[in-house]
Symmetry: C2
Subunit: 226 residues, 2 copies
DNA sequence: AGAGATTTGTGAAGAAAAGCACAAATCCCC
DNA sequence: GGGGATTTGTGCTTTTCTTCACAAATCTCT
């Protein structure tokens, strides 16, 4: 009978590289949990997520010692600990600015609205879109005018913002979001955003990703012909 | 009159971290070029792209010595060198699999079809979509049945594939793409893909990005209340 | 209860990336 | 043509990330 002893929670700060992998582990654990698995070894979980088992163990060791030597990890327990560490038990309000092709896809994207994230505001500049409603997961939300951004976002108390507008206006939108109290931004516009200290920006750049692949692809060809 | 001396092209391999930043520099240089700027210093370009000037210079030094001390870099020349290094002068054929919300947005996304990347095939599983046409940049392309994937992609000779299908079928699609000769994959499905050696996979994970932001957001709150 | 088989957690070593600081090269102006 | 002002390119240092390898902890079987 594995009696759960007090989890030794470590309070050093977690390396950024580790933080970036926690969502991957979380997802794999969720899958295992839904499949009814109760235990998993670092080897198996590493296989599922595409990392090495040593890296996985070191990553987890930054959260605390949640495994059992000779046995492995309890799926549900480890999953909960990661969720807690990542703040997924809290509820996060998110606004999306820009509802072109990409913005609409993001708004409708299920994985976005799921677990912990709730889309509470949609904004666009285009008069043809304003007032129309969009289904985002469970609820329907009306698209509001971008001119209202700063005021409306402040009222919604959202601290996470998604920018899916053209590069030319991204900085302006970013400034408005920051003014409204947003302190974390996911930027899909292909441009660098400058923000004051204390505001995090993560960029997702579709064209860059393709270019990086093309670079490696080219290297493969050079090798072949060499 | 700055007579252009033979560029000393360095042939060591370029660090991965540098490769990931080259597209950013390239975009900023394109912008400067279109604005009519002919010269830029590492300090200015660093500011524009959100890196430090030392890092920028070191990155560029891996490509060759394309700057002039006391002066800076010639915008057009440097831009060309980066493009060449990244294989953007070649033309890359890309196929997209999965034309749900996200896939359609990607297909229509201008920055994708631009400079060097041409979407040559669209595939989906859904009978309602098959046969319909989608405008991707300049041309219209018909959506083809996913059952035809391996055969059709081989015929199209595409080596870059974009996966925008649900996680459950992503590995199957990936296997088919690899079978068809695709050697670089951009994966939007929230799951790890296993591939044979020689096939590169880059993952873009929207939910993970939000979760990483939420993690830091939580840390900010803890600090405040501490 | 003890021997043998697993599997974690982690120090220590190694590799990669970032940051520093300054010599070398160029320009400008008198 | 020489002195002062810029700005690159890079050796060196520091930091961060990854990998290795093994002791410690647990389980199983007899």
């Amino acid at each position: 009978m594995p009696l759960r002893t007090a989890p030794s929670v470590k309070r050093g700060k977690i390396p950024e590289a580790t933080v970036a992998r926690l969502p991957i582990y979380y997802r794999a654990l969720t899958q295992l949990f839904e499949r009814g698995e109760t235990r998993v070894s670092s080897e198996e979980l590493a296989e599922l997520t595409g990392v090495t088992s040593a890296k996985l163990r070191k990553d987890l060791s930054h959260l605390g010692t949640y495994g059992t030597r000779g046995v492995g990890y309890e799926v549900e327990y480890l999953r909960f600990q990661i969720a807690r560490e990542m703040g997924l038990n809290n509820d996060w309000s998110v606004v999306i600015v820009g509802l072109g092709n990409l913005g609409r896809a993001l708004a409708r994207y299920g994985g976005f609205g799921s677990r912990g994230f709730q889309i509470v505001g949609l904004f666009d500049h285009d008069a043809k879109l304003i007032g129309s409603k969009l289904r985002t997961g469970k609820s329907e939300i009306e698209i509001m005018p971008a001119t209202d951004l700063a005021r409306a976002v402040k009222q919604l108390k959202a601290r996470l913002g998604v920018i899916a507008v053209p590069a030319e206006v991204a900085q302006k939108v970013c400034d408005d979001l920051v003014k409204a109290g947003v302190t974390s931004i996911l930027n899909f516009a292909p441009t660098h955003l400058s923000t004051p200290d204390g505001v995090d920006v993560r960029r997702v750049d579709l064209a860059s990703e393709l270019q990086i692949l093309a670079f490696h692809e080219q290297k493969k060809n050079e090798e072949k012909s060499a």
